[in-house]
Amino acid sequence: MWDIIKSSTPEILWAGIKYTIPIAIISFAIGLVLAVITALIRISRPQGKSKPLWGGVRAVFSFYVWLFRSTPLLVQLFIVFFGLPNVGIQFDAWTAGIITFSLNTGAYASETIRGALLSIPESQWDAAYSIGMTYRQALFRIVFPQALRVALPPLSNSFIGLVKDTSLASSITIVEMFMVSQQIASNNYQPLLMYSIVAAIYALFCTILSILQHYLEKWTSRYVDALGE
């Protein structure tokens, strides 16, 4: 058994380093950008001439969030990879995976960020404006750092969830960790052992992320923790 573990673990781990981690990190990064844009558009309340146009843009982003939160990730992957070629849009498996995971993460994370931004009192915007800050300065220098503290635990949850969800990429032919373990299991007829190894590697990745989350939370909450000193 040890020989099987010793020979297969590096192969599975390498697939994790080569595919699982990059897919998760790239998709999460793109998803976060999308989430911030979506959240900002959905909380904006413009006045004047641009109001009808803005209402239309907000409706499009609200529809996007609804669509990706209301349908299973596996179905989304299949539509993007197997479905879109029917209408002439074709992606390789890697690109289809990144697009789907990013859009899915963006939809969920946008709700987290929207909630976090709305939790910051209006008085913080007033204070920022009162010293002459622009909207962008007020947002990124004053409101966002405070919202980040609120958003960090649920966003970390989303990221940990995404790392595990990348196993679904095997269904669109990406040879990530789970698929490699399946392939090895089909050769050595040791499915319990192989899937246990891959489960342990997922658990290892997620534990490392949880530790990072702990330190990030401590850093973003340093002004709150200081109250007890």
Binding site: Q124, D126, A127, Y223
Partner: protein, 244 residues
């Protein structure tokens, strides 16, 4: 000088400001008084465009804006850079240290040299007796200390006018006195202060001019002496209600 002319502001069925015309002089302390809900804070917040009246004009020295027009960001920033504000609940930035709270505006808005901005911040902190708090976070200070820091934050912007929105309402009497002493010092230094307050003693002792607001209208403008010693029947009633 700041001049408001024919300013109207309504929230659905409530008229917060009703054809308000009033001036605020430079290097003077103007105190805005009036019963709760009279429109005092709305009037003050209209000066730096935190509230946007539906009509009327605002003139600050050589700058005039029409509230009814679609103001550009440039116009809004030009108005806001002429004044700073101290809030009732101080509204310090909780994630920044005291020093960062004071230098945030000078460094990132006025683009001052960070070393000079920090030096000035320490001077201001010394002026209010809180230089030892520079590296602490706002939540670690008392309400009175936080309000004095928020005055430093306003002063650091070198504004032509400083707006105070009930700066002592959330403080207990001892802390209120600390803050009022700082305000009095600023008034003595010749800063241009516009103060919304319920503290009659402060108004009596410090105000160069009093503006009395009721039901969204300016009912009185004049000296503190006229206001307190020669009141109209309505002001007499208001002053009586403020006493035990």
């Amino acid at each position: 000088m700041i001049k408001l002319e024919h300013v109207d502001k309504a929230y659905r069925d409530h008229h917060a400001l009703d054809d308000v015309t009033v001036t605020f002089d430079e290097h003077k302390t103007t105190v805005i008084l009036g019963p709760s809900g009279a429109g005092k804070s709305t009037l003050l917040r209209s000066l730096n465009l935190l509230e946007r009246p539906q009509s009327g004009t605002l003139t600050i020295d050589d700058l005039t804006v029409d509230y009814g027009a679609n103001l550009t960001n440039k116009e809004i920033l030009a108005v806001r850079r002429k004044m700073a504000m101290v809030f009732q609940s101080w509204n310090l930035f909780p994630h920044l240290t005291i020093l960062q709270n004071i230098t945030e505006g000078p460094i990132h808005v006025l683009k001052q040299d960070p070393v000079k901005a920090k030096q000035r911040a320490h001077e201001l902190l010394q002026k209010v007796g809180l230089d030892n708090t520079a590296d602490r976070f706002p939540g670690q200070l008392s309400g009175g200390q936080q309000q004095r820091i928020s005055i430093c934050r306003a002063l650091a912007m070198d504004p032509a006018y400083i707006l105070f929105d009930e700066p002592t309402s959330a403080l207990d009497p001892e802390l209120e006195a600390q803050v009022l002493r700082v305000l009095q010092q600023l008034a003595n230094d010749g800063d241009s202060l516009i103060v919304v307050t319920h503290n009659m003693e402060f108004a009596r002792r410090v105000a160069d001019k009093i503006v009395f607001v009721e039901d969204g209208q300016v009912d009185f403008t004049g000296t503190a002496d006229d206001f307190f010693n020669h009141p109209t029947p309505r002001i007499k009633e208001f002053l009586a209600a403020m006493e035990f």
